[in-house]
């Protein structure tokens, strides 16, 4: 299988060289993510979104007259594998920049090498608060790590706003898995709750692959929780929803953006209805750009039920390619420090799927997503839709508040 793929790749490369004859050297951009394993719905959607963007750019003549070539590598959501991939992308493939990272742990383990090699990285899915803040001045005069996904700090505030601010609930339970993702997210939630003067009535933990959530849910129920806030990934979130049904206990489930994962919605079935989560993008064609993107995605990859496995990952992956392309174009070459400077001072607006990026980064701010951009999504009939009509009508969400 691998050798067949390799051969067809070589054949395709040979063909394309013949076809284009004197084509300029491609600009190599690394794409690191989990294309297999439990996080693969996010990794694959991110990769497919990025490929769409690269194809569009190449059809329009590429960047600096050179085509973009995405060098895809599967980091399997494992830290050590991520580091291996990083070494290969830097030393063997000599990439100009790298996009990707679904898992905060992999991102944190790998980025050091890019920082040292002065090669820009755009995280397009990982959400851990610390991801873009690993290399700050004064120790590191220049930070090479950027991000186009919604950091956990913003997400936890939105989750708490939804539960405490809008619904006026005061008895809150937190259920988080025992991974770094879950536990860092739990801390963010506790902080955001404290800012509203609320102390969670229960803070419970579970392991990935746990099959019974009864003790956790009973504790939350007995403490009189009016809502369950979650930080976990799809399959375990489904177990929570199913466990609530078993106990005959129904309170709103509000949690991090992973509540939009297909493997939560499919496994929890009817019990996933009504779950709410922050989203940077919802698969709904409410701008021309979004319509074009969704149509192109469905046409190219034919996902089941016409549902992008992880719409957020796909959109952020797509946008990250346009951002790096704009920076390379502005820099005029592919030199790492120049591209970083260009990213920090993007002169042209970049029309993305998530938003229109108007100077998304500066020297001290490497987060493209500000708190005005994400919206609240809700699971309805097996799809993630806008929870609030006024947010649906205001798709670009440009005004900062």
């Amino acid at each position: 299988m691998a050798s067949f793929r390799l051969r067809s790749l070589v054949a395709a490369l040979a063909l394309s060289t013949i076809a284009s004859g004197f084509a300029a050297d491609p600009i190599k951009i690394g794409l690191s993510g989990p294309y297999t394993g439990g996080s693969s719905p996010m990794g694959v959607s991110m990769r497919d979104g990025a490929k769409l963007a690269a194809d569009e750019i190449n059809k329009a003549g590429g960047v600096l007259g050179r085509p973009i070539q995405l060098v895809e590598r599967d980091d399997e959501a494992k830290n050590e594998r991520g580091v291996q991939v990083t070494q290969e992308l830097i030393n063997k493939e000599h990439v100009v920049a790298t996009l990707g990272y679904i898992n905060t742990g992999v991102s944190l383990a790998s980025q050091r090498f890019y920082q040292e090699a002065k090669i820009p990285v755009i995280n397009n899915v990982a959400t851990g608060s610390i991801v873009s803040k690993q290399f700050l001045p004064p120790e590191h005069p220049d930070n090479y790590i950027f991000r186009t996904s919604c950091p956990d700090g913003i997400q936890s505030q939105m989750i708490v706003e939804e539960a405490v601010g809008r619904r006026k609930l005061t008895k809150i339970a937190i259920l988080a898995d025992s991974t770094n993702y879950g536990q860092l997210g739990r801390e963010d939630l506790v902080k955001a709750l404290a800012a509203k003067g609320v102390k969670p009535v229960a803070e419970e933990k579970f392991n990935v692959k746990d099959v019974d959530m009864t003790p956790q849910l009973l504790k939350a129920k007995e403490a009189g929780a009016q809502a369950v806030l979650t930080y976990a990934i799809g399959p375990e979130l489904a177990q929570i929803a199913l466990g609530m049904k078993k106990l005959g206990w129904k309170v709103p489930m509000i949690g991090s953006w992973t509540l939009s994962m297909g493997n939560f919605i499919d496994n929890a079935g009817a019990e996933s209805e009504g779950a709410r989560m922050p989203q940077t993008f919802i698969q709904e064609p409410n701008t021309p750009k979004r319509k074009a993107f969704i149509d192109a995605y469905l046409k190219a990859y034919h996902p089941t039920n016409d549902r992008i496995p992880s719409p957020v990952s796909a959109a952020q992956g797509y946008d990250s390619v346009y951002l790096i392309a704009a920076a390379i174009k502005q820099a005029g070459n592919t030199d790492g420090p120049k591209v970083r400077e260009a990213l920090e001072n993007l002169k042209d607006k970049v029309d993305g799927v998530v938003t229109i990026y108007d100077r998304p980064f500066s020297h001290d701010n490497h987060e493209a997503i500000t708190s005005n951009i994400p919206v609240i999504g809700e699971v309805k009939d097996g799809h993630v839709v806008y929870a609030y009509e006024e947010e649906r009508k205001n798709p670009l969400r440009l005004e900062k508040h």
């Binding site: 099959v211 003790p215 049904k245 499919d266």
Partner: protein
């Protein structure tokens, strides 16, 4: 009171899941002194094959849940026989002490990788053959499917016990467990009996797979954690006691749910493992196991 009852019920249901899987470890240990460390994968394959027939993947469902069970049992038996022939028999022949450990682990990994390629790596829902609304018993809830797991586990164990005691083939299995060499001298084909015990072990695992899948979600990695917990149950209960795995399973299951509620969900796996260490240091053959003196 209702809470304690709920925790006990959930603990028993969880414990019976462990017990069904642990049961598979016993049958091979009895006849050959070896274990199939790919037990969790045998369970996963059973669940996946069941899902392909009775679930709505690959254009299904083709047949209903109950009709699918015999096919899954046959598939499990064949899979177990393959494991024995490829992984275990060479090790037994050469009297290798550890060969079978490595080869059953290796086969388990291979099965998992094959399953990942055939069915993908995502967890999938398994349609429940029973209503998914919980039943209420004195204020505690229990899923009909959880009752089915308990009933199914008991039926399976009783069935194997009757087979061993009443049928001539069962007696050959018991004879081989008691003394393999003597059984061989009496004209029992002990090699075949060992193959059979592996087939039985994987068939029970496959059965356990389709039994628990509607509760646990189905995916290529579903067997890993369950197989390990079941191994702990088999050690706690004793590797040669049918009653032992049930008691061991329930002990572990109840320990998990009650610790989770009364102490902390972060420590819910600890008491079970402490129990395992205690059993190993006080009664290494397990709570209900008979110690066997190994003559070298």
């Amino acid at each position: 009171m209702a809470i304690l009852l709920q925790l006990l019920l959930s603990g028993v249901a969880l414990g019976m899941i462990y017990a069904v899987i642990a049961f598979g470890y016993q049958s091979t240990f009895a006849t050959s002194g070896t274990l199939n460390f790919g037990q969790g994968e045998a369970l996963m394959l059973g669940a996946m094959v069941g899902l392909s027939m009775a679930g709505n993947v690959a254009g299904g469902p083709y047949i209903n849940y109950w009709a699918m069970i015999p096919i899954v049992l046959i598939f499990g038996a064949l899979q177990g026989a393959v494991v024995e022939r490829i992984g275990v028999r060479p090790a037994i022949k050469t009297k290798s002490e550890f060969g079978w450990i490595m080869s059953t682990i290796a086969l388990g990994i291979i099965f998992r990788n094959v399953a990942e390629n055939v069915w993908g790596r995502d967890d999938m829902p398994f349609p429940s053959p029973l209503p998914t609304d919980p039943l209420h018993i004195f204020g505690a809830s229990v899923l009909p499917m959880e009752l089915l797991v308990v009933v199914g586990a008991i039926v399976m164990m009783v069935g194997v016990e009757i087979f061993n005691r009443r049928s001539i083939y069962g007696k050959a299995v018991v004879a081989t467990s008691t003394d393999r060499d003597a059984a061989g001298l009496m004209g029992i084909n002990t090699g075949l009996v060992i193959t059979f015990s592996y087939a039985l072990s994987s068939a029970t695992a496959a059965f356990a797979g389709v039994l628990i899948a509607p509760i646990t979600l189905t995916g290529a990695s579903m067997g890993a954690v369950l197989g390990l917990k079941a191994f702990a149950v088999a050690i706690i209960g004793g590797l040669n006691s049918g009653l032992g795995v049930i008691v061991g399973g329930i002990l572990l299951g109840v320990a998990e749910t009650t610790t989770g509620f009364y102490i902390s969900t972060g420590y819910k796996d600890v008491p079970g493992l402490i129990l395992l260490l205690l059993v190993l240091s006080v009664k290494p053959a397990g709570l209900f196991g008979k110690s066997v003196i190994k003559k070298v």
